[in-house]
């Protein structure tokens, strides 16, 4: 009875995972003959300044994304877990970005950030009318912001669910001892959210490794190579430069980093915890 799922998953997910390892040792342009390459692709990728730049950019993007998303999601999630009057309405609206495809979001922000006809010109504030996506110094930060726009709602949900699981008695006891709102936050909320913080941050990290469609449509990796992160570098190397071998090397680097981070999550939080969390909310 498990056979259909195993076959589908095996053929289109597990086999490709081994396939990508095999392909990293061949020369293939995507159409023609496949020839043995030995370690050519590995040395080529290691010496490719663009790929090395892409790896560095991915690390930078990941750090920036976590630094931006984690505090905002934590603050919003904790707030939404409370019983404020407009909480449910806000929570409903906060969810909306999750309904849009990455392509739709990227297209919207391309128009919105247009230096001549976008929001900056509407408000007639010079600082806002910059060429956000055309400036190599700015483009990466714009990407970080747009990614935040897409994914902060999701992490807010996680924090909201996590905060609601904190026993009310803890707060009552703290109030009895005369703890203020700020103290309650730092002495109860934050420590009790330890696992939520680990989970959410790990997901942000793993997610940051794989952002592709959003950046692809938003900047295409440009200007220059200013936003050419690893998944984008892999796609462009494989499907634009028709060097599938070297692209496979980059894909393997992605898998390795992703698995390392995921296993790190399992180690810290315990797989059983992951199971029980997935039933939650």
């Amino acid at each position: 009875m498990a056979a259909p799922a195993l076959i589908l998953f095996g053929v289109f997910a597990i086999v490709p995972l081994f396939g990508v390892a095999a392909l990293s040792f061949v020369h293939w342009d995507g159409l023609g003959a496949i020839t043995w390459a030995g370690f050519d692709n590995w040395t080529a990728a290691a010496n490719d300044p663009v790929s090395r730049g892409a790896l560095w950019l991915t690390v930078k993007l990941t750090v920036l994304c976590v630094l931006f998303q984690a505090p905002v999601s934590l603050l919003l999630g904790v707030f939404l877990a409370g019983r404020q009057r407009y909480r449910s309405l806000l929570a409903t609206l906060f969810f909306l970005p999750l309904l849009f495809s990455s392509a739709a979001v990227a297209i919207t922000f391309t128009a919105l950030l247009d230096p001549n006809f976008g929001a900056g010109s509407a408000l007639d504030i010079a600082v806002l009318s910059q060429n956000w996506l055309g400036d190599p110094q700015l483009a990466l930060y714009v990407v970080v912001f747009v990614i935040g726009w897409c994914f902060i709602p999701f992490h807010t949900l996680i924090y909201q669910a996590g905060t609601r699981q904190i026993p009310k008695e803890l707060y009552e006891a703290a109030r009895m001892d005369g703890a203020g709102a700020v103290q309650q936050f730092f002495l109860i909320t934050l420590p009790m959210l330890k696992y939520t913080i680990v989970t959410s941050t790990t997901l942000m990290t793993v997610g940051s490794l794989t952002y592709f469609d959003l950046i692809f449509v938003l900047t295409g990796g440009g200007p220059g190579n200013a936003t050419r992160v690893l998944p984008l570098d892999m796609y462009l190397t494989g499907f634009r430069s028709y060097d599938m071998g070297q692209a496979s090397v980059l894909a393997l680097v992605l898998v390795a980093v992703g698995l390392a981070v995921s296993l790190g999550l399992n180690r810290i939080t315990g797989a059983s915890r992951m199971d029980s969390r997935s039933e939650g909310s």
Partner: protein
């Protein structure tokens, strides 16, 4: 209880921040909507954030005249087929995981856990190779098959967790009555698992509907184009006709908005369960 809540001091910082973030979220959505109603000739003249002086639906008309209905239909076919097959094969596998007495079930579950960590990007080159070899390149099946494969691990995980809650005695009493495994699956497991199936189904539908990488790599012609890819090609094709591009964005999100209104709880719990993969 109410009294206690009132005693809590309002979270001023959180509230201020929440309203600010609301503005950040709503502004782009408002912009999409009003710009899609703006006549093309007014786009360069009017204030981009002001309500259009002459709102019209002509942008939508231009989108619909450019095969959008076909792309929409393709997306519906791919999403429905992917989700339906995923749910059927996953509930069968989940039943095996829950019922198996040997290590097979546990190992299957472990593979699923690992499978969640495989990024689509990492497997895309061999998937492309496979699809070409199978002669499926540039067909809707090329999108459906890998979409199912990458939906299975999470679906299996959620369904398994749900099925574990079914009391052993229910299975036993059906077996006493001489029911076959298939009968137990159809008559007991599927009806009981309906809420979990709805949750994970809505979630996977959102993922497949908005998927971009598989269509980008595995299809080529307009006849197999799905919506996210069509938005991208509209952007190239319409270029300066921003109202039309954003009208297409509005049309692309409508089904998901409808799903959100009708099945908000399923979608939200599906997302938190799915960890936003």
């Amino acid at each position: 209880m109410t009294k206690q809540r009132n005693e809590q001091r309002p979270n001023v910082l959180g509230a201020a921040f929440a309203w600010l973030w609301l503005a950040v979220i709503i502004l782009p959505i408002y912009y999409i909507f009003i710009t899609s109603l703006r006549p093309r000739e007014d786009y360069y003249a009017e204030n981009p954030l002001a309500w259009p002086a002459n709102p019209s639906l002509t942008a939508y008309q231009r989108v619909l005249e450019n095969d959008f209905v076909l792309f929409f239909f393709n997306s519906v076919v791919v999403t429905t087929a992917s989700v339906a097959v995923t749910l059927v094969v996953s509930i069968m596998a989940a039943y095996v995981v829950v019922r198996s007495r040997d290590g097979f079930g546990r190992n299957l579950f472990r593979v699923a856990l690992l499978g969640i960590a495989i990024p689509i990007q990492a497997a895309i080159i061999p998937v492309y190779y496979l699809i070409v070899q199978l002669g499926l390149y540039d067909t809707l099946a090329a999108l459906i098959l890998p979409s199912i494969a990458f939906s299975i691990p999470l679906t299996l995980l959620i369904l398994t967790n749900f099925l574990r809650e079914i009391p052993e005695s229910l299975f036993e009493s059906m077996r006493m009555d001489g029911a076959t495994e298939w009968r137990i699956l159809l008559r007991l497991v599927v009806p009981l698992a309906r809420p979990a199936l709805a949750t994970v189904g809505v979630y996977q539908a959102l993922q497949v509907w908005n998927g971009f990488l598989f269509p980008l790599v595995l299809t080529q012609s307009a006849s197999t184009r799905v919506i996210p890819l069509s938005l991208w090609s509209f952007q190239g094709q319409f270029g300066v006709d921003v109202p039309a591009v954003l009208a297409a964005v509005v049309l692309s999100v409508l089904p998901m908005l409808a799903a959100y209104i009708l099945a908000r709880r399923q979608l939200v719990s599906g997302l938190t369960a799915g960890f936003g993969k």
